[in-house]
């Protein structure tokens, strides 16, 4: 019953983003539902490929902004996420890794499920089906867990990410370069992580309340010692999707060394393309860095972490100045040619880094870091707290978000970065 309500709610909300969103998602869902059923019994490869291409077409089409502008249609909401979800389902059914879903309502819920349609995580049918379609019971432990997780997501989003976005937008809108570009890249690393993982926290939190288990999407990415490790810890849903459905089918590492490197680069190009056409170069650079393997690795763990962090930060420039291919490169170059650090430190307030903002940022990033590094311990402690203390923790977080969060009139309110992909 609750499942049907969830489905209805999802459909209603999706429809508010335009009827075409609903039509595109429905077409995807229905086409894969029926072919899934058929493919389970009849292994028909051409049909599988046809249906994959059919579902990829909208994704490809809407990646080309000039085409979209030309035809003047709205991009369906959640396109990047549900497309990959349905493809993983149909491939898994074909490979007998999972059984096809018999109940169309269940399958629709899998595709339409509101919490993850906006920013993922990209879900696999074989993972979520275990908990998604069972009868829901109210469970106080799960509810507390979910609510705390949601409030933590809000904390990351509104105290950290939105605050940093104020700084970055004042840097980009004034075309500041050099030291400012470096600062923007470093801060953006933190912003994107807080924003994206904060959103995922909310999705996982809501799902917790309904007793639906989703996979984690991040595993403390910025303590990676190499770029390769980074991709095992960052946006795990996308990386593992690409690994399972692109990299391994291409031959993975069971081929010649050169072929393997090409496979890696192709995989990252696809990743770049999934984000949008202006991100292809970003994908290429990551691909190359993964291919170089341990080239930048030293014996010192902390130096490795630092180097990896700086490399990923510099490459986020493709996300910051995402309007063209050249701009990010220009900006990275300017870091090495414009030494305006003194101007930067003298004019911190001009880029919204007031003393108050700096203090709040440092404290909240500190909390984030401590939590991330000691996650298991802290989670254990929290789950053992009494209901009164859990409620208090929840209330304190909510009040902190309302009071110190950056949102509403007077601030540049921004949507989740990863909901636009």
């Amino acid at each position: 019953m609750l499942n049907i309500l969830l489905l209805l709610l999802s459909i209603i909300v999706i429809t508010t983003f335009g009827l075409n969103s609903l039509i595109f998602i429905s077409l995807s869902a229905i086409s894969t539902y029926f072919t899934g059923k058929y493919l389970e019994k009849h292994k028909n490869k051409p049909l599988l490929i046809f249906i994959i291409i059919l579902n990829l077409l909208p994704l490809i089409f809407f990646r080309f902004t000039y085409l979209v502008n030309k035809f003047n249609i709205l991009v369906p909401i959640g396109l990047s996420y549900y497309t990959l979800s349905v493809i993983s389902y149909i491939v898994d059914v074909y490979k007998n890794e999972t059984k096809s879903e018999k109940n169309i309502l269940n399958y629709l819920l899998y595709v339409f499920y509101l919490p993850y349609i906006f920013i993922g995580p990209i879900s696999r049918y074989k993972d979520v089906s275990k908990t998604m379609f069972t009868k829901k019971k109210f469970d106080i432990t799960n509810t507390y867990k979910g609510l705390l997780r949601i409030s933590w997501g809000f904390f990351k989003k509104y105290l950290i990410a939105s605050r940093i976005s104020l700084v970055i937008s004042s840097i980009t809108s004034n075309n500041l370069v050099g030291a400012y570009a470096l600062l923007a890249c470093i801060l953006y690393s933190i912003e994107l992580y807080s924003d994206f993982s904060g959103g995922i926290d909310m999705v996982i939190g809501v799902s917790n309340i309904f007793g639906i288990k989703l996979k984690e999407n991040f595993n403390v990415p910025y303590i990676s010692e190499t770029i390769k490790e980074f991709w095992g810890r960052w946006h795990i849903a996308l990386s593992s999707f690409l690994k399972d459905y692109v990299y391994i089918p291409l031959g993975g590492n069971r081929v010649s060394k050169i072929r393997n490197k090409i496979n890696i680069i192709i995989t990252f190009l696809v990743s770049g393309f999934w984000h949008g056409t202006t991100y292809i170069l970003w994908g290429l650079f990551h691909g190359i860095l993964v291919c170089t393997g341990n080239l930048f690795k030293t014996k010192n763990k902390y130096i490795n972490i630092f180097i990896t962090f700086i490399l990923t930060s510099l490459l986020w420039s493709f996300f910051i100045w995402n309007t063209s291919f050249i701009e990010p490169l220009k900006m990275i170059l300017s870091i090495f040619t414009h030494f305006n650090y003194i101007t930067l430190f003298k004019n911190l307030t001009e880029i919204n880094l007031t003393l108050f903002n700096i203090v709040v940022l440092i404290l909240s990033i500190l909390i984030l870091t401590i939590y991330d590094l000691k996650q298991e311990k802290i989670n254990n402690k929290i789950s053992n707290l009494s209901p009164v203390l859990k409620t208090s923790l929840l209330c304190i977080t909510v009040i902190l978000v309302f009071t110190l969060g950056v949102y509403g009139i007077g601030f540049n309110h921004s949507e989740f970065i990863y909901s636009k992909f």
Partner: protein, 335 residues
Amino acid sequence: MKYLKVILTLTFFTIIFILLNILLKPKYMTDLVEGSMTNAFYKEDMVHDVIFIGDCEVYANFSPLEMYETSGITSYVRGNSQQLIWQSYYLLKETLKYETPEVVVFNVNSMRYSKPVSEAYNRLMIDNMKWSKEKIDLINASKTEEENFLSYVLPIMRYHSRITELTKEDFEYLFRTKKTTYNGFLINKNIKPYTSFPKERRLPTYEFQDIDYEYLDKIRTLLEEKGIRLVLIKAPSLYPYWYDEYETQIKEYASTYNIDYYNLKSIADSIGIDYETDTYDGGLHLNYYGAKKLSKYFGELLKKNYNLTDYRSDAKISEIYNKKLIEYKKALESD
């Protein structure tokens, strides 16, 4: 027992949250006192024969206490900065829940606006209004695209950035207010003579929009139902320009519905208003000296034309008003 504890915890934090909301909302007591006008009315302990509604052209130009002193009539100004016509309507509706005056005077200047102008003005007017159906309707009619309703329920959503700007005022007036206006009149004794205004511009249209007529009709019928006289005025002001086309339309409306309309702007000279001394901003609004002259003139006019009672001989009311007058005079001297 377990649940009781949780409920107590929740209550505790809710109280903290409410306190934070009160703390962060501007107090409008020493700075931007224009934000304290709507709620000042709730402290008023008596009824009035005349209610003024309109924008800054009423709260700066008409002083009820001057009118009492010279003609004995009782009145109150329910005006706010940039009060648009739908705002005037809902504020009037709220006022009529508290009292039924003989005459309502509406300043027609806001007929020229057909869209919410600015979020900041909405806040000044609405922040301190008591919750009622009128307030809900008022918010819905007034809010600009960027605003949301919830931020009026939870002011923290609008004002949380003030956390770094809190002053002594915010703590001093956390739970109390002080007198900022006198029967809705805001004293301003500054003098800034008229110099010049930009040239009169051509407008895309001179016709009042449907929405303005809609609310003017609403005001008219609301008052008709209650048997209250509606009087239209155009207050003296040199800018923004009051176009002839505007004047014609108002006159037409007034004659269609048999309403009295006084253009006080056109007779400002004969009232004795001198834009060299009687304005605090070069001619947009009158200062105290201008308001004194205008109030004397208009108070007498109201009393004569609408047979209003002279309360100066009424023991009970004159006692209250004499007290008010002493406070008012004191404020005038200290200003």
